[in-house]
């Protein structure tokens, strides 16, 4: 018997109440494996971001189940879901979403301090190490508005990796970047999957990124229309 996948969606659905109800995600079946870079693609409004929020435990499904290493996390309380996000998930969004009052280092330290498993100096060392990995060691004490778009996004990725999560989720992480920075981020994501054995899931409408993914999930009208293993 093989180990269960990191994350498995079984007939996962999300419907907005209304008349008629709006179906965002319709019975999606999907398996997310560690060491793989998965891209979710599809036309805008097809429900790919909605699916990502469901997979990332930010949103609650209205139907189906979501299994995290075989455990059904659908019925968990808000606090338990927050704890899972804190310990095991890292998010990167289209906009960097750094906290403007804090400098780069403090932003990266935020999830580490919230988890509170490291002392403050340890947390700072860990955050500096991550910023170094992102090539930003000299920008640690800069506030977000003094950083370029690419730098901000890399700080955001460092923050997503702060608690060493097995799953990294990206919602159009390159959507706001030029081609150079965009390529850099995609390369980073591939390394996270291949070198560090994390599961990386990325929503994108950029066909170039989708080409570089190990698994390409296509969506149409809220349904998963195709799952293709690449490379």
């Amino acid at each position: 018997m093989t180990a269960p996948p990191l994350l498995a969606a079984e007939k996962l659905s999300r419907t907005l109440p209304g008349d008629p109800p709006v179906i965002l995600v319709d019975e999606a079946d999907l398996k997310i494996e560690p060491g793989k870079f998965t891209a979710i693609v599809g036309p805008s409004g097809c429900g790919k971001s909605s699916l990502l929020y469901l997979l990332g435990l930010i949103d609650r499904p209205t139907g189906g189940r979501l299994l995290l290493q075989g455990q059904d996390v659908t019925p968990l309380s808000g606090d338990a879901r927050a704890q899972i996000r804190l310990e095991r998930f890292g998010f990167v969004f289209q906009f960097h979403f750094l906290l403007p009052e804090f400098n780069a280092l403090e932003n990266v330290m935020m999830p580490i301090r919230r988890l509170a498993r490291l002392t403050l100096p340890q947390a700072e060392a860990r955050a500096r190490e991550l910023l170094g990995f992102m090539g930003l060691e000299d920008k640690a004490l800069k506030s977000p508005d003094k950083l370029s778009g690419g730098e901000r996004q890399r700080v955001a990725i460092a923050r997503a990796l702060a608690n060493d999560p097995p799953l990294v989720l990206g919602d159009e992480p390159t959507g706001n970047l030029d081609s150079v920075n965009s390529a850099r981020v995609v390369d980073l994501f591939r390394r996270l999957a291949h070198e560090q054995d994390r599961a990386v899931v990325c929503v994108t409408h950029d066909p170039g990124i989708a080409e570089l993914a190990d698994v390409r999930v296509s969506m149409l009208d809220g349904r998963v229309s195709e799952v293709r293993q690449q490379g």
Binding site: S49, S50, Y53, G56, I58, D59, G78, D79, A82, Q83, I84, R85, L86, E87, F89, F91, F93, Q94, F95, F97, L99, P100, E101, F102, M110, P111, R113, R114, L115, A116, L120, R159, N163, D171, E172, G175
Partner: protein, 416 residues
């Protein structure tokens, strides 16, 4: 737990520091509220204490008189009862000898209480007669050394001393007003006739100030001489008691009355109407100053509310990062708490300054220079702090609850 709290405090502090103007407005609101609460309550409580002190000092704390709250049952009724088939009418009412019996024993009992002093006195009506002019006067026989320790009548003398009563045969102290009406001055002699017909010559050895309760129709004499003038030797009909703790008067009076049967009236009972008035005054004061504090907390509500509205994006990102609803609620409650605390400290300072200014004001009342009586007890500082803290936390908690309910999906989706 501590690490988490310090992180949330850090976030809250950054929010406040980034919004200095809002923070300043909210803090000054609380400060003004606390400051004026302190100033107003200091004046109200100060004047009340002053007033109550006057009430307490106006007369002995407890006065035992030879009156009974209800007349004793007549011997006939006692013998036959009122339940039987016999109903009695027209029986001869036994006349009681007025005066407090076994007053020595009551006095001994009072003196046994720590810090308590009892002063026996006899009062009765006499008529002062001078040159065809009659003036009614209530004569009060006292022991000057004891009485001066029980009441403040010595302070009310315009001229003469209480102790002079012992030195001068037939000495009397009367009110300035009455002396004026009779055309009498210090050292003059006046004839006094009691209701039982005894007449004696009295010499004025002291005068009470005008405008005092004693001023118009009371005269103080030596107890012995009053007993002889009123032809009631060895009788007293009033015991004035001073207690170490004036506020115990009500209970002590009840005890004395229960044991001895004579009416024992405490100063509280005597001034029930004034005390009722003070209660109303306090209710008014506390509702006004509470309103001040409440309005101040609106500032906190607005500040925290705006902070929540401004930080919806940050709330969403923190939630996605794994911060719980409770975390975010706490961040904003802490912001309100910090505003309240800063406001309280500033308000204490403001209140202290206001009190110093009020305390330095001088008023002239009938030629006497007076200052406002102020109550500067720490209790008021604590009440103001507690009330604003509670109001502040509630004011912050309402918008903070909204912060915790922000759905990150709405914000994240909307931003894309």
């Amino acid at each position: 737990m501590f690490a988490r709290l310090s992180l949330l405090l850090h976030i809250a502090a950054k929010h406040l520091l980034m919004r200095q103007r809002q923070t300043l407005v909210a803090v000054s609101g609380v400060a003004v509220g606390v400051g004026f609460f302190l100033a107003v309550s200091a004046m109200m409580i100060g004047s009340q204490t002053d007033f109550v002190k006057t009430l307490i000092d106006a007369a002995p704390h407890i006065i035992i008189s030879d009156e009974l709250r209800s007349p004793p049952p007549q011997p006939g009724l006692r013998a036959y009862g009122s339940k039987g088939a016999v109903e009695l009418h027209g029986y001869k009412v036994r006349s009681e000898v007025r005066g407090i019996k076994d007053w020595q024993q009551i006095l001994r009992e009072i003196d046994a209480m720590p810090g308590a002093i009892g002063s026996p006195s006899l009062s009765g009506a006499v008529t002062l007669r001078l040159g065809g002019r009659d003036e009614a006067m209530a004569v009060i026989g006292i022991d000057p050394t004891i009485e001066s320790r029980v009441s403040t009548i010595s302070d009310k003398l315009r001229s003469g001393r209480l102790i002079d009563l012992e030195r001068i045969q037939g000495g009397v102290i009367i009110g300035e007003d009455q002396a004026q009406r009779l055309g009498l001055g210090m050292g003059d002699i006046v004839a006094a006739t009691s209701a039982r017909g005894g007449t004696r010559s009295l010499r004025i050895v002291g005068l009470f100030k005008k405008g005092q309760q004693l001023g118009s129709g009371s005269g103080y004499m030596l107890l012995r001489e009053a007993q002889s003038l009123l032809a009631r030797p060895f009788v007293i009909n009033r015991i004035g008691i001073k207690l170490a703790d004036p506020y115990a008067a009500e209970d002590v009076a009840k005890g004395l009355e229960a044991r001895h049967g004579y009416k024992a009236e405490s100063w509280q009972e005597r001034s029930a109407d004034f005390l009722g008035l003070l209660l109303t005054r306090n209710v008014i004061m506390y509702s006004v100053v509470s309103a001040i504090l409440l309005v101040a907390s609106f500032g906190i509500y607005t500040a925290v509310s705006n902070s929540v509205a401004d930080k919806r994006r940050d709330i969403a990102i923190l939630r996605s990062m794994g911060f719980s609803e409770g975390d975010l609620q706490l961040v904003f409650v802490v912001e309100g708490l910090a505003l309240a605390l800063a406001g309280i400290v500033a308000g204490w300072l403001l209140g202290f300054l206001l009190m110093s200014v009020l305390g330095s004001l001088e008023f002239s009342i009938q030629g006497e220079v007076r200052r406002l009586p102020l109550d500067r007890s720490t209790r008021q500082y604590l009440i103001a702090a507690t009330a604003s803290l509670i109001a502040g936390v509630i004011a912050a908690w309402l918008p903070a609850r909204k912060a915790s309910r922000v759905d990150p999906v709405d914000i994240l989706r909307g931003a894309v």
